[in-house]
Point group: C2
Chain length 220, copies 2
């Protein structure tokens, strides 16, 4: 099973590494990190890097395509880049599954893949998701035909476990979960807008807008 | 707040990236990826890389030290390398928190930091943990003074959320959780040996032993 994870400067590392680790644990996947240009990829935090081992021109098909998200507004570069969008469309033509994590769904939307399709994203990006023609859906993992979108950042782990179960059966998914000891025990229960207090939600929303504003003013 | 994540060839990516992403989300941490030699770091899957931006000689102290784990037996290189162990001891001397994820605790143990200390590890590494003088403890996150150990792979996310709460208060931890949309919904409940079926546990244990055997026969 060929799994391709698209990387780009300004990406959120966990969006990519969560699903990667699940597929790696199956021992049945060949996972490839692919970017427009191979080499070092800057993280959105500006505190580290991932590495693309392949360029778009080297990878023209995969069973599973994963498009991770990023801090806003870093998705704009990919959304406005025809080479990236054409590569995604090409991969989607022959993929078994086309997927996104977090606001990576905005990039799928910009590629025209989410017209009238139920999809999710990071909770902070639902407005833009809707403006791209998708039907925003507040679920952790949304499956619509062969398109699967996951909610923010950490949701890519849950999405990948589902994909493993859909491909190889529940036992394979359970095995990956056990290898990763994915028995989550967050010390509090504020992981979604519905669960967070209104005050916290307002505070974090303002923080995200501030990050977006700062980043709009600087180049990658 | 200075957070240093130790990297080494053969590491499990999510062990490092889980905590990294939590600390990055706080916007209050300077996270540094550090290895014996800076540059590209090979992952245990042999399907990708992380990147160390600093070498041991460049980083001599941090508020939080994180030692991630790896597929067995990749921890052996670090456990047998005096330069690595001395660097860990030096970092521990002035750290506020010295932590590990997964079987990274074996490396802390080899550095002599876990004598008679309650600690956890990946569930598959408890025997070795005990042989290093630690008191193996089946909890997701074990805090003993300034030493904090997390269970396997994904447990680093829960550990980091706890550390954020201990440092800046529960609201800061909740904010990081909301940014990462960490509202886990694994599709099944097999993430620990206690929860998995005996058959699955046996099968996965055999798989891990097989990986260990293969890797013992090859060099990094």
């Amino acid at each position: 099973m060929e799994v391709t994870i698209m990387l780009y400067d300004g990406i959120t590392a966990l969006d990519a590494i969560g699903p990667y680790e699940v597929f790696a644990a199956t021992q049945q996947c060949n996972v490839k990190f692919v970017a427009k240009k191979k080499g070092i990829i800057k993280l959105d935090s500006k505190m580290g890097y991932l590495h693309a081992d392949y360029s778009f021109s080297e990878i023209t098909s995969a069973d599973i395509l994963i498009v991770p998200g990023c801090s806003p507004p870093n998705y704009k570069d990919a959304m406005n880049d025809e080479e990236t969008l054409n590569w995604i469309r090409k991969m989607h033509n022959t993929s078994k599954w086309t997927t996104s994590v977090c606001n990576g769904s905005l990039i799928l939307g910009a590629a025209g893949l989410l017209n009238d399709v139920e999809a999710t994203s990071h909770w902070g990006s639902f407005d833009i998701l809707q403006s791209l023609g998708a039907i925003p859906t507040e679920e952790r993992v949304v499956r619509q035909g062969k398109i699967v979108t996951a909610a923010g950042v950490s949701a890519g782990i849950d999405m990948a476990l589902n994909l493993v179960a859909w491909e190889w059966g529940e036992d394979a998914g359970k095995a990956a979960q056990l290898i990763l000891e994915y028995d989550p025990q967050p010390p509090f229960d504020s992981g979604s807008p519905k669960k967070a207090s209104p005050q916290l939600l307002e505070q974090v929303s303002a923080k995200i807008k501030e990050i977006e504003k700062q980043k709009t003013e600087t180049d990658w």
